[in-house]
Amino acid sequence: MMYIPQRPPVEYKGLSLKIVRLATRWGPTGISLALRFAWGIFFAAVVALVLFVWLVGRFINPLLPWFIRDFVVVVGLLGFVCIVAIIGIWGERKVSGRIQSRLGPMRTGHWHGWAQSLADGLKFVQKEDLIPRDADQPLFRLAPYVALVPAFCAYLALPFGVGWVFRDADVSLLFVLAMLAIEVLGVIMAGWASNSKWSLYGAMREGCQLVSYEIPMGLSLLAAVVATGSVNLITLGEAQSGGWFAWLIFQNPFLFLAFFTYYVASLASCKRSPFDLPEGESELVAGFHTEYSGFRFVMFFFAEYVAMFAVSALATIIFLGGWHSPIGGPSSPLWFVLKSTFLVWVQMWIRWTLPRIRIDQVMHACVKYLLPFTLLLFLGSSLWQLYDNPAHPAFKGFANLLRGVLGVLGLVLLGLYFFGAGYGYYNRNRLVGQMARRHLPGA
């Protein structure tokens, strides 16, 4: 406000003060320039690696011995996973900022603080690696790896498109689910090994929650598996070529609902809000990673974002047409990444909107509602598959009609989303107030 008296700038006198002033003015700038340079190199290297993998690895594939191809693909996947985690963490902060009428990180790297996660990563690497005296040392050291490595392993069977996969296994869907299931062991290990009661509570909650929600998650996916008759993710994805209305989510009403039950269960299995009880910061300090610091903490963070993208990718492949374009154009891994990123964004949106559920409500929601409901969906999907064939022409016609209705419903939902987003964007000043703008230095 204009009438707040401004303190006049203080003029420093004397040489030593001048040196201090110069140092304080140029020191951080110089350091940050150097760091930005380093991050740029790192970032460029990762991007180059991924490009190399995508271009060279793909086209020279038959010429290379298989282990070189494998090596290149694994390194590329590693790079992709790192980028997912880094951009995910930065994106989460930007999303939360926008939702909360602030800006989020704005300084590091100049363009909307894009380098913030890298800077944080550097900071975490430099931090002291604290291990509590009474912790179970080997398990405490092992736990972050047990959490991160399986989450990465899930990507080994996750196809980004036809041919864009490390191993096209016959059981790739189950493989991804199995790998995501191992992650819980790392969390429980961390909670137990920390020898802190808060960590233990986090671990117990994680165990409860994940073992319970794995079942509705698997059942929702099985409903889709019944519809296509395969647990191979590539087959599942390829079954949905041909635009928006061919997506599995619109194939029958049970699958339409199964997508949402899967999404809820996947939120729980990634410990995302409103199911973030294992780390619920207002109850359990930080839950299972209370005692972790430095790079070990980062690994848990990485594991969370990597798993977030993995479950979203699974939902994309199985329900949302995978790498196929909604408008019928050529299919491309870009579509796959785009759709998965949208689902990740919805996860963030939910996280910054909803309060946390209590543990008994989590279990009630799963065992009393979600589990019977997904069982019904599975049954319904199976029955639908039984009748939805040329032998039952009447039902076939009804099914096709319903498919159209569901597709239109999906379009309406998407349209509502974009309408809401546009409305919010044009009225952002009225909706969130101008406080963020008012208090920006120099604004």
Binding site: L139, V184, V211
Partner: protein, 176 residues
């Protein structure tokens, strides 16, 4: 060559896990060694081309049973843990039993000659599905009944026995 190396890797992990459990006095570490064994057995299944079985081993055993086990360990471990290491007399007896068993098993294993030396082609999930719902339909249905009974039995056994809810508490809240 590579197959042999991978086999010995997994076999070493599995046997090491067993020995570690045998010698360990730390119940939580035992549970994690068990998980190492389970994962290496899953790896062996993969090695033998039984992908479906390997994945199910990880999904059910590691993701479900092992988590439950670790959970049980946490719920029941306390300061005065029961005896986890055998006394000298027991150890002797144990060694004798183990040696006799191995001495009996190994020669008979070496005598095994498979009728058909060629490897069976890797089979798909569909084949196992047909097998389950064809030849093994009876056991399959029995297994499902067994699982249901186990579910009910476990729920009955582990039900809360403390009337935890005071008058002022909500009905939906139960003890965990």
């Amino acid at each position: 060559m590579l197959e042999t190396a991978v086999f010995f890797l997994f076999a070493t992990v599995a046997v090491t896990a067993g020995l570690a459990i045998l010698l360990s006095t730390h119940i939580v570490r035992m549970a994690y060694w068990l998980i190492a064994m389970l994962i290496s057995v899953a790896g062996l299944y993969f090695l033998m081309g039984a992908y479906f079985l390997g994945v199910i081993q990880v999904l059910v055993y590691v993701g479900g049973v092992a988590v439950l086990l670790v959970f049980g360990v946490m719920l029941t471990s306390r300061q005065q843990a029961p005896k986890l290491r055998p006394g000298p007399g027991e150890a002797l007896w144990l060694t004798i039993v183990a040696a006799v068993l191995l001495a009996g098993l190994i020669p008979s294993i070496l005598r095994v000659r498979p009728e058909q030396s060629a490897l069976v082609a890797e089979n798909s999930v569909a084949d196992i599905g047909h097998s389950l719902l064809g030849e093994f339909l009876g056991p399959f249905e029995l297994a499902s009944v067994l699982l249901l009974v186990a579910l009910l039995g476990a729920a009955y056994l582990a039900r809360p026995k403390i009337p935890v809810l005071g008058a002022q508490q909500k009905k939906g809240t139960t003890a965990l």
